[in-house]
Symmetry: C3
Subunit: 160 residues, 3 copies
């Protein structure tokens, strides 16, 4: 055990801008301290990994309905509080820019550069009818067993 790197895992279940930002700030911080970091995207959290353009894939009716209703990528996420029909996210993005804080797409890019493992939950993809072509590149695909494998070697395990 002595020489192994410390590990941190985050389950990102929520599909809200503020929670996704918090998840990536913690993940990037841990990676900067040389932890091996995994973010496991499940349920609404998967929307964070969607490409912002529509992708032409064959789907059934319900899968299409979920696809339309759910936010397409980090630019479309709402807030968990004070969303005000989309004005809240604009305010948050504005103050983050003003303070030179990284935006969510930049935080995602930084995480990938730092080797943070981004894992899309395959069970959720099945349920919501999301396909690999619709998600950003350079991510992994796995189920709850893989998450538990990483988490049981980690000290910091968060559900966000």
């Amino acid at each position: 055990m002595e020489n192994q790197k410390e590990r941190t895992t985050i389950v990102l279940f929520s599909g809200e801008l503020d929670k996704a930002i918090a998840a990536f700030i913690i993940a990037n911080g841990a990676a900067a301290y040389d932890h091996e970091v995994t973010i496991f995207f499940t349920f609404w959290g998967l929307n964070t990994l969607r490409k912002d353009e529509a992708v032409n894939v064959k789907k059934g009716f319900l899968e299409k309905a979920f696809g339309w209703m759910m936010p397409r990528g980090p630019g479309k996420l709402g807030l968990s509080k004070m969303n005000f029909a989309g004005m809240g996210p604009q305010m948050i993005k504005h103050v983050m820019k003003k303070h030179n804080a990284l935006s969510l797409p930049q935080l995602i890019e930084l995480a990938q550069e730092q080797g943070v493992k981004l894992v899309a939950c395959t069970m959720t993809m099945d349920l919501l009818g999301l396909q690999e072509e619709e998600l950003i590149d350079d991510i992994e695909y796995a189920g709850v067993a893989a998450y538990l494998g990483d988490a049981s070697q980690a000290k910091v395990n968060l559900f966000i």
Copy 2:
């Protein structure tokens, strides 16, 4: 330490269908990997353990009010996102059935078969006026001290 089983604990605070499903999928996964698993149901999470029929117990006015307003069992829980006045949960249940995923009542049953320890928070029961007769069978009753006892021996501790 060497020969002890690994432990996983989950505090289920939220009373939403999607979060309860996530909690039970992780719990059942961990139990399948031979972890000792505890789910501690507190605040709104306790509604997951309610029987779906009304139970005739003596209560004061406020306790009755909470009893009426809160969802009675796993079949009545809403979603944390896209609830759409109950249409969202129906869609989720429909796609889960279509993909042969276990429903929440089935996930609860599986957890009990696998020996996952389901613990109702006695402090919350007092506050919300819930009585043992109103909750499903074969669960335990304890407070935050018992939770902390389990959590401090576990590596994976989540708050959902």
Copy 3:
């Protein structure tokens, strides 16, 4: 490692009364069992630490707007469920008083007496324009690095 105290950390991200109460009940429980406990207040969770009176500090327009819109201190927080335009929090406060449970301000005071480390996230303070004068006394100020330092020595790490 043998003689060190056990550690527990909580990230309080949410700005809701029920979640703040849960965080402080767990924190006070862990402190009673002689854990070293840190609560790291970030995003909406920071509102828990605000003084309940307005504090006269110089601010820009957006910072003032956030200051007005966000709840000022533990007495003003809403519920994550059944808020009913403020009636929910009154009901919860009423039943807690009736059962002699500690109120949130009392839980905060107890935490400080027990030596629970309350840390305000400086990055959030910058973003939302909150200043030290607006927060309660005897707390610490730090960033995500300090949180990760504590969390990687702890077994129980929760995100609430």
